[in-house]
């Protein structure tokens, strides 16, 4: 079921980071947005919830391309069919989700510390914030992957992607904001909410793997 996973994963990383890459553009957007939001707020004492909201909304919207791009590009250029003739859809899907997760993590680990610093948060909480970022990026990637796949099968382009993605990731996004704000305020992580987002993203992943072979047969 996962044959060729490593090979596909390496190919994903290569195609996503080269040339006019989706990764470069998304990282650029995340960086520019972080700066654009932080600069005007330089002298303002912000509530931790506001900071957490800014961090995760910026990260979510700037990385939408990462989660969709690899699926839609592969479908549009027809190479998806070539891959399908040689390996299983599950292996293709998982390799893409894994590559997207890594790229999202890189973007998160660059932009979140920057925003935390720019928005005047005490550096002491940074390690905990980074831990939350890793969990958050993982959960967001796992749950956005399947919608990226669905949209590529829908052949609708990426314009409406934020509208279609948001309902699926909303519980994760809101939970992440609550978790992060509590970290910024008290330095503690709410384990309950971490359990919620991890189990939701795993549930979506399992559902994706169940639906995937059926969709491949039906469409």
């Amino acid at each position: 079921m996962f044959s060729g996973f490593r090979l596909l994963f390496a190919k994903e990383i290569m195609t996503l980071t080269r040339g006019k890459s989706i990764f470069g553009v998304s990282l650029g957007i995340a960086f520019v947005l972080s700066f654009a939001v932080s600069m005007p707020l330089a002298e303002v004492a912000l509530d931790p919830t506001v900071i957490a909201t800014l961090i995760w909304t910026i990260l979510f919207f700037s990385t939408i391309g990462v989660h969709l791009g690899s699926f839609t590009v592969e479908e549009n250029q027809g190479t998806y069919d070539l891959l399908k003739l040689a390996t299983s859809p599950t292996a293709i899907f998982m390799s893409k989700v894994a590559a997207n997760t890594i790229l999202m993590l890189v973007i998160g680990l660059v932009c979140i510390p920057l925003m935390v610093l720019w928005l005047g948060v005490d550096v002491v909480v940074l390690p905990t914030v980074l831990l939350v970022s890793i969990i958050g990026c993982l959960c967001l990637s796992l749950s956005e992957g399947f919608i990226g796949y669905l949209l590529s099968k829908a052949r609708v382009g990426e314009v409406a992607a934020p509208i279609i993605l948001l309902p699926v990731v909303l519980p994760i996004l809101v939970s992440l904001i609550i978790i992060t704000s509590s970290v910024l305020e008290k330095g503690t992580i709410s384990i309950n909410l971490v359990v919620v987002i991890v189990s939701l993203s795993l549930a979506i992943l399992v559902a994706s793997l169940l639906f995937l072979p059926m969709l491949e047969e039906w469409l």
């Binding site: 090979l7 190919k11 190479t79 069919d81 070539l82 003739l85």
Partner: protein, 175 residues
């Protein structure tokens, strides 16, 4: 086969038993769709395809004009990737005269060489069934000769679709 209420084609019944079969048809007659069905990529709306011996045991080589390979990978990387994916031990870029351009990115190739890379990819590992959709597209004389040579050397089954049949070819199916 139909998309919504548009019937692309129906009543196609054909045995592909010869080594080389040619499918012919005008633009929009459903050649590519039929090729996709024959490769098992698309399920027909109604009807059935039977492979001997079973699709799971057949290695398929496929090329079609709608396929564009990875623009930012070099020719070598593309061929390496597909050969490893198809679990093929070795291949020779010289076969399609690609060795001189192996370090060039696919997006920087001329359309003729792009077509050669695609064909090389389809021919990789001498697949049991080779489905070529308009394989002569963009090829220069040299490319066309190479293709003819490769096709004539092959002993396993080939199905080619074209809208420009040469008189000496025997057409199996008109769409």
């Amino acid at each position: 086969m139909r998309f919504d209420r548009n019937i692309v084609f129906g009543d196609v019944s054909c045995d592909f038993t010869q080594r080389l079969s040619i499918i012919c048809g005008a633009n929009g007659s459903g050649k590519t769709t039929l090729m996709k069905i024959l490769s098992g990529l698309v399920n027909p709306t109604s009807g059935k395809i039977t492979y001997t011996p079973g699709i799971a045991n057949i290695r398929i080589g496929f090329d079609s004009p709608y396929i564009h390979l990875y623009p930012d990978l070099t020719v070598r990387e593309i061929m390496d990737f597909f050969s490893r994916l198809k679990r093929i031990e070795k291949y020779d870029l010289r076969e399609w005269e690609l060795h001189k351009i192996r370090h060039k990115k696919y997006k920087n190739l001329s359309s003729g060489f792009k077509q050669r890379v695609k064909l090389a990819q389809a021919f990789l590992g001498n697949p049991d069934l080779l489905l070529l959709d308009e394989p002569e597209q963009h090829l220069d004389e040299g490319g066309k000769n190479l293709l003819k040579e490769k096709l004539s050397q092959r002993e396993k089954m080939i199905i080619v679709s074209t809208n420009n049949p040469e008189s000496e070819q025997k057409i199996v199916l008109w769409l």
